[in-house]
């Protein structure tokens, strides 16, 4: 077992963990922070994306021991005093989720993009989200939501 200290969503934790414990399982099974789901075993789907020390990682592909001393932000730590972030608002308002399983990872990936590129084009959004799979939305509303959260004008849908 290895001793680790990790701050998650503002709360410091210390635990003895097996070296093989995945960060995703540490969050879910040890800390009970189940807002970060797991969708695959090959790091393709991105559902488990969290922020580690200021950059997104797929928490299924990071060992908890690698996060020792680090600061993790999950989707559960985004809202402050219950106030949603612009991205959370945009995902809601643009109907960027259906079943919602990919949503935590999508929001974390989009947050990372906007930090690096505050005014991305539609194509840049699509490329930045290439590591996050969604089976429900066809992505179009996710792209719109990210553009809207970046403060850009996004056309409303044409449907009657």
């Amino acid at each position: 077992m290895t001793h680790i200290k990790v701050t998650v969503d503002g709360t410091p934790y210390e635990d003895e963990v097996a070296p093989r414990l995945l960060l995703a399982h540490y969050l879910r099974d040890v800390l009970g922070l189940t807002g970060t789901p797991i969708g695959c075993d090959t790091s393709n789907c991105g559902a488990c994306t969290v922020d580690l020390d200021g950059a997104t990682v797929k928490s299924c592909s990071v060992l908890a021991v690698q996060a020792d001393g680090g600061t993790v932000t999950t989707v559960q730590g985004l809202a402050e005093d219950g106030e949603w972030t612009a991205l959370q608002h945009a995902f809601h308002e643009r109907h960027a989720l259906q079943c919602g399983y990919c949503t935590p990872g999508m929001i974390m990936a989009a947050r990372d993009l906007l930090r690096e590129n505050p005014h991305p084009t539609s194509d840049e959004v699509r490329e930045a989200l290439e590591g996050n799979l969604c089976r429900c939305t066809g992505y179009q509303n996710i792209v719109r939501a990210v553009l809207a959260a970046s403060g850009q004008q996004v056309p409303e849908e044409a449907t009657a």
């Binding site: 097996a18 093989r20 414990l21 399982h25 879910r28 099974d29 009970g32 189940t34 807002g35 970060t36 789901p37 797991i38 969708g39 695959c40 075993d41 090959t42 393709n44 789907c45 999950t74 989707v75 559960q76 985004l78 809202a79 959370q88 995902f91 809601h92 308002e93 109907h95 989720l97 259906q98 079943c99 919602g100 399983y101 990919c102 949503t103 935590p104 929001i107 539609s122 959004v125 699509r126 490329e127 989200l129 290439e130 590591g131 996050n132 799979l133 969604c134 089976r135 429900c136 939305t137 066809g138 992505y139 179009q140 509303n141 996710i142 792209v143 849908e157 044409a158 449907t159 009657a160």
Partner: protein, 790 residues
């Protein structure tokens, strides 16, 4: 309530209400099955066959018991007592071959991934480790992989006790004989199309947790399922646990697309193990495990033949379908191709239709419903061959369709397959789509590129589809030998404080029923949208239901909510009339308020009526103190969404790469409750249909191993692989339900696959290409070009 608030509550249906479901999903406060923890929870792991087909000569789980943290381990034989065969609810013919399907294999494994043993441990890591200690010896048997070879007399058998790999033969013939249509025809065309196997890939992997109360023999099953109600009945049957002692809960469920319309072995095994151990047990699938263990979709060979006149009028259609059942019959496996049987004639008029389907067992993961379920396959084949016929006759593909489709003035129209299409307007949807697409301009550009001999060609694909959804009239299901009905239940509870609970038998997993059912109830009852709560997915709180699949939820379940709410208003009217000392006929009900005609100050809100009913102090004689209402709706007919999809692709003839340049669809799903949600359903459906056309395929090698066995090999497209879609609607209300709705869950998937492949072939037709097998990979496109020019 103020007048203004009352006003605001009106006209919910048709509004793009933001979803009630979102708050928990975008903040991570979700309740996926795998999230749920209880004291003493044990984790189950499943050991699966690495071979496609083998006799099990020995299984020894005792070494696993020595591993740290392991509580128990079981073989198939250990659990066979008290665990029956997994159910097939749709034996499509009287003489169908129904093999035994033990939840854990006992003597023989019949596909890679067939379970052979389970271990139960204190955590998921220990359970995974202990699997490696289980000892299994196999005696290999020949795999059965080729659908046609499997039907040969001397073929090795998937189920040797059955003496054949032929599961069933299901024929349908209507109108004149195809042979006589052929004799009258100027042109006949015959084609073979392949529906590759697909893996549904709901983003949430499956999971099941069972918490027992051993002393009283009660069990709660949490499952990532689309069908908590059906699952409860079936688990009672499989395990012998009395139905009333089983409670099934579908918590937050992360997508299904048919893959969670199932009664899975792991669900039965988790229940059996929890019963055996008297302790809570959870199993969560990993993605690559799910690729073997969760049912697949499609998997068919389609031989299709059309007979037509020189002018392009269809005379007859003949379809010979060979469908891969996989190793076992699961819940509705045999019925999936049969759902398609009625859809091959699509929107076209013709005089002869012959259909025949042969179900075949193979040593692969079982197939079953995947978004569209039989109807995408049918639509693909007819829409592909319509393009081939157009090319043969030198007609524009849109014009050929125009010459054959049912005119809007001809509805209701009974199709050659026997379905009565209630309403539709194919002309309107097509005109709108052509205009949005810029069809003529794109055709002009295509011609220029062809004349220049460009390396990158432009192709235009059309698909004019209809589908039968809103499953289903119970009597029709009887005729199709389906074991249950197709009704849906709803009840409405008017709470004393004026709030409303809508209890639905549908079981959403991304569709937004909490939002849409609130809109319907708010509209009918005239209460604020925010005051409505939708209760679903728990057999204790919503005890009656047929669940969610087949684009049925709105047209059957939503209709039930509408009818239940209407009943509430009628019950409330009696009380209001009494309290206002007026006759019922003299009351108007508008925006939640009963008012006496001519004296608008005499009024009662429905919330006031709810409270008065709760106290029961002043009710008319003979009226019981409740205005709650429930209803069960059995639809009279299917609903028939339709639409026109147009796709433009650029195909790099040098590399074979296809890029979708534009995609336009105009769907007619009747009246809509929430346009935003409808649009989202269309987008998602398009993505899955395009994925079948271009990207996805479950590939097996010659030994029957699933080669595309992880998400790194099975190519689910990302945002970077898909285009923006242009979506629009026409609105021809359905006549078969009060709301005029049709359903939208599958439309995009059904329509898009042939539109894309038609576009790819259209791009290459000048080079001599007449087909590209799905998925249209770069190499397949490149080979098609190469072979055509050779």
């Amino acid at each position: 309530m103020t007048d203004q608030a009352v006003k605001a509550a009106a006209h919910e249906i048709g509004r793009s209400r933001l979803r009630k479901e979102d708050a928990r999903l975008i903040t991570g406060q979700t309740n996926w099955t795998d999230n749920i923890q209880v004291a003493g929870l044990l984790h189950l792991a499943v050991l699966r066959s690495p071979m496609a087909h083998a006799r099990i000569t020995r299984v020894d789980v005792s070494p696993a018991l020595e591993r740290p943290g392991v509580i128990a381990a079981f073989t198939g034989a250990d659990l066979a007592e008290g665990l029956g065969s997994l159910p097939c609810a749709w034996p499509v013919t009287e003489d169908i071959v129904l093999p035994d399907h033990p939840p854990i294999a006992v003597d023989e494994v019949r596909h890679a991934g067939d379970p052979v043993a389970v271990v139960v441990a204190r955590d998921r890591y220990a359970a995974a480790d202990a699997l490696e200690a289980v000892e299994v010896e196999y005696d290999p048997l020949p795999p059965v992989l080729d659908l046609e070879a499997a039907l040969a007399d001397d073929a090795p058998l998937v189920h040797s006790d059955k003496g054949t790999n032929r599961c069933y033969t299901w024929p349908l013939a209507t109108g004149e004989s195809f042979e006589s249509a052929r004799q009258r025809a100027d042109v006949t065309l015959k084609r073979r199309y392949h529906q590759q196997r697909l893996i549904p890939n709901a983003m949430e992997p499956r999971a099941v947790m069972v918490t027992p109360i051993a002393a009283s023999g009660e069990y709660t099953v949490y499952s990532a399922t689309q069908i908590p109600h059906i699952l409860r009945i079936m688990l009672a049957t499989v395990t012998g646990i009395p139905e009333h002692k089983l409670r099934v809960i579908a918590p937050d469920v992360g997508g299904g697309f048919g893959s969670k319309l199932q009664v899975y072995g792991e669900e039965a095994v988790a229940l059996a193990v929890a019963r055996r151990l008297g302790r809570p047990v959870k199993w969560t699938e990993s993605r690559s495990e799910g690729y073997l263990a969760t049912h697949h979709g499609r998997g068919m060979i389609q031989d299709i033949e059309v007979a037509a006149t020189r002018e392009g009028r269809l005379l007859g259609l003949k379809v010979d379908l060979t469908a891969d059942m996989g190793a076992y019959l699961m819940l509705v496996t045999p019925g999936i191709p049969i759902l398609g049987a009625f859809m091959y004639p699509a929107i076209y008029k013709m005089d002869a239709y012959e259909f025949n389907c042969t179900g075949v067992f193979t040593t692969r993961t079982p197939t079953d419903a995947y978004r569209g379920a039989g109807r995408p396959e049918a639509t693909f084949a007819i829409e592909r061959i319509m393009d081939e016929l157009a090319a043969e006759l030198g007609l524009d593909p849109v014009e050929l369709r125009r010459r054959n489709w049912i005119g809007h003035e001809e509805f209701p129209y009974t199709s050659i397959a026997g379905l009565t299409y209630d309403t539709g307007n194919y002309e309107a949807a097509t005109e709108k789509a052509l205009a949005l697409f810029g069809y003529d301009e794109l055709r002009a550009e295509q011609q220029q590129r062809n004349e220049r001999g460009d390396t990158v060609r432009l192709g235009i694909g059309v698909s004019t589809y209809t589908e039968m959804c809103g499953l289903a009239p119970s009597r029709v299901l009887r005729d199709l030998r389906y074991a249950a009905g197709g009704w849906e239940a709803a009840s409405i509870r008017m709470l004393p404080t004026g709030k409303v609970e809508v209890v639905t038998g549908t079981s959403p997993h991304g569709q937004g029923h909490e939002t849409c059912w609130s809109q319907i109830a708010a509209d009918v009852l005239g209460v604020p949208f925010e005051d409505v709560e939708v209760v679903h997915g728990d057999t204790r709180s919503s005890p009656q239901g047929m669940d969610t699949y087949g684009s049925r939820s709105l047209s059957v379940g939503g209709e039930a909510v509408h009818r239940a709410a209407t009943k509430v208003v009628e019950k409330a009217r009696k009380v209001a009339a009494h309290l206002l000392e007026a006759s019922e006929q003299d009351l108007e009900f508008t925006d939640g308020v009963f008012a006496v005609k001519g004296s608008p100050e005499a009024r009662k809100t429905i919330q006031e009526i709810a409270f008065e009913t709760f106290t029961g102090h002043d009710l008319p004689d003979g009226v019981e103190p409740s205005i709650n209402a429930e209803t069960v709706v059995d639809p009279e007919n299917f609903s028939y969404p339709h639409g026109t999809h147009l796709c433009a692709v650029e195909v790099d003839t040098e590399t074979g790469r296809t890029r979708i340049r534009s995609y336009v669809c105009v769907d007619d799903v009747g009246h809509v409750v929430n346009p935003m949600i409808v649009e989202g359903q269309v987008h998602g459906g398009l993505a899955q249909g395009i994925a079948q056309a271009l990207y996805e395929e479950a590939v097996y090698d010659d030994e029957g191993n699933l080669v595309s066995g992880t998400m790194a090999d099975y190519l689910v497209p990302s945002a970077a692989d898909l285009p923006d879609f242009v979506t629009d609607r026409t609105e021809t209300p359905a006549a078969s339900n009060a709301m005029g709705v049709k359903g939208v869950g599958e439309a995009g998937t059904i329509a898009s696959t042939p539109a894309v492949v038609n576009a790819v072939v259209d791009a290459l037709r000048p080079l001599g290409v007449t087909d590209v097998r799905m998925p249209c990979t770069p190499e397949r496109v490149w080979r098609a070009v190469k072979e055509a020019s050779a």
